[in-house]
């Protein structure tokens, strides 16, 4: 018990407290650190770079989480049926999840590459686009590329969670529905969705927390570019650490931490609620 508490205190709690403390200091390489009050935070509020990163992060989380939970649900519904090759499909679904995000970022960088990439190759070969699309050079293209890379990597996780939730729905409910002559759509709306709701809520929250913290895919795929169009809050904070401004970078990451903590509390509450209702213990 105590090694665990010691480990988490030294390597998780202490760094977070340190970061929050840093955010109230002027701490730039080569300058003497000094207490700075809330000046880092007031500077942030006037910083268009911060607001554009905040806007990108929220928009990214909104779009990618919805897409991946929708795709994950579709995959889970399919693989929950006794279809042929189900084992093969279930094994392959885990492959994107298991690949390091930095590696999948690089693969998508090649896919969206202007002259060598598969995206432009397919678009042009099928005649969907007359000229090559400059995916990573425009803000809209880069946004789509980042969302695609993230959805590819994380939809399988959603599928695995939702599949576990689906397989726990009591079969007897569907038998009763069959007696009542309910169609497939009615079974989905009146049985599957309500029964799946706790799992769905926890999966959504869990993925939202991870999406607002997004770093590796963006760092590798676009580097936050073009310009700062795909700079997430994590990438912004990291770039300040990289340039030696620890106080300002810490203020950005402290705000991100506050957002993640808020979502984490919602997450823990919904896990506890479902634990109390007896269907769930953990996500």
């Amino acid at each position: 018990m105590s090694p665990l508490i010691l480990l988490l205190t030294v390597l998780v709690l202490q760094p977070v407290v340190g970061t929050v403390a840093d955010s109230f200091r002027r701490d730039i390489v080569f300058l003497k650190p000094a207490f700075a009050g809330v000046s880092n935070y007031t500077a942030l509020l006037d910083d268009p770079g911060f607001w554009s990163a905040a806007r990108f992060t929220l928009l990214f989380a909104l779009v990618s989480v919805q897409l991946e939970v929708a795709i994950g649900l579709a995959i889970a519904l399919l693989l929950n049926e006794p279809v042929p090759f189900r084992g093969l499909c279930r094994a392959c679904v885990l492959i994107p999840w298991s690949i390091p995000a930095a590696v999948s970022g690089r693969v998508f960088q090649l896919i969206y590459d202007y002259s060598n990439g598969a995206a432009n190759w397919i678009l042009q070969a099928t005649g969907l686009a007359a000229a090559a699309v400059n995916w990573l050079g425009t803000s809209m293209g880069a946004f789509c590329a980042v969302v695609a890379a993230d959805v590819w990597k994380t939809a399988p996780f959603a599928a695995v969670m939702l599949l576990a939730g689906l397989s726990a729905i009591p079969e007897v409910l569907y038998q009763q529905a069959a007696v009542d002559r309910a169609g497939p759509w009615q079974r989905f709306v009146y049985i599957t969705l309500p029964q799946l709701k706790p799992v769905l809520v926890v999966t959504l929250l869990f993925r939202t927390i991870q999406a607002v913290c997004i770093f590796d895919v963006i760092f590798v795929l676009t580097g936050g570019g073009p310009g700062a169009a795909t700079q997430s809050l994590s990438v912004l904070a990291y770039s300040y650490f990289g340039s030696g401004d620890f106080g300002y970078g810490s203020a950005v990451s402290a705000l991100l931490f506050a957002l993640a903590l808020l979502l984490a509390m919602l997450y823990v509450r919904s896990t506890r609620n479902s634990a109390r209702n007896g269907t769930w213990r953990r996500a």
């Binding site: 939730g165 770093f215 650490f241 769930w280």
Partner: protein, 282 residues
């Protein structure tokens, strides 16, 4: 074939395509010769494309044999660090899970949920302080600078998974061992761990995969091939002459993903169980 089974096959095919296409594209690029121009539009539409596309190991040879790229070393770092992280996380989580399920720990449930919320902390909020901490210890660019944070990071998952496995083992078994004079440690070592072996293995496996795939800590806490891991090496790999060496990058990507993809396919059911264990009452 009726309409329904056609629809099922079509949807299965699209699921497989969605999951595998980028992975196979990576593999194909790694195996194609530079002359085949990475399956580029011009290359592919050219009539000589298919005959020209003969798999070659030249990219693998060039990244693995080059004395300046250090890829074998990065792979060793990745595997070594992840193995140590997996071993230590089981070693730390198992006694804690034992205490939480077998002894009356005050506030056990609150502790479990505090640990769970720790796993939601953004890595970027920890990394600058960890960087200073490791600098003070003189550990920057060493294996232990990554192993310890990885153990802490996988702890919530390891603890929750092990607790849910330990709960399934009847209390009478290890209580009988205690009555027979075994110490608590012996009860854990000789009764619980062997009984929960599949769970312990899943926990270690997940901790290994998480450590192997981690990026931000590895980026910030290492400086060169002494401790740098595969994902960071691949992210920072650029060509010498301005042109991006896609063939080499994808060959390195294949080398980096091979261990985790093989583990995932072989132990697929263990991983799914570990991820969803306790999520649904069985």
């Amino acid at each position: 074939m009726n309409k329904r089974s056609v629809a099922i096959f079509a949807s299965e095919a699209s699921v497989l395509c969605f999951c595998l296409a980028p992975f196979l594209y990576m593999l194909a690029t790694a195996l194609s010769s530079t002359g085949a121009a990475y399956l580029s539009p011009r290359g592919a539409l050219h009539p000589t494309f298919l005959p020209a596309f003969l798999p070659t190991l030249e990219h693998f040879r060039s990244i693995l044999l080059s004395p300046t790229l250090h890829f074998p070393r990065y792979l060793l770092n990745s595997v070594g660090i992840s193995l140590l992280a997996a071993l230590f996380s089981v070693a730390v989580a198992a006694p804690a899970a034992y205490a939480l399920t077998r002894m009356h720990v005050p506030g056990a449930q609150i502790l479990m949920f505090v640990v769970l919320s720790l796993s939601m902390f953004p890595a970027v909020s920890l990394v600058s302080s960890l960087f200073r901490f490791m600098t003070r210890l003189g550990w920057i660019n060493t294996w232990q600078a990554l192993v310890l944070p990885y153990v802490a990071w996988s702890m919530p998952l390891a603890l929750w998974t092990l607790v849910s496995y330990f709960q399934q083992i009847p209390m009478e078994l290890d209580r009988a061992a205690l009555v027979d004079g075994a110490s608590r440690f012996q009860a854990l070592r000789f009764i619980l761990l062997p009984m929960a072996a599949p769970g312990v293995f899943s926990t270690g496996l997940l901790a290994f995969i998480f450590a192997f795939n981690e990026f931000l800590y590895a980026l910030m806490l290492t400086t060169d091939s002494t401790a740098r891991t595969m994902p960071v090496a691949i992210a920072l790999f650029e060509g010498l002459h301005g042109e991006i060496p896609w063939g080499e990058i994808m060959a390195a990507a294949v080398v980096a993903t091979a261990p985790v993809v093989l583990l995932t396919i072989v132990f697929q059911q263990r991983i799914v169980q570990g991820l969803t264990r306790g999520a649904v009452k069985e």
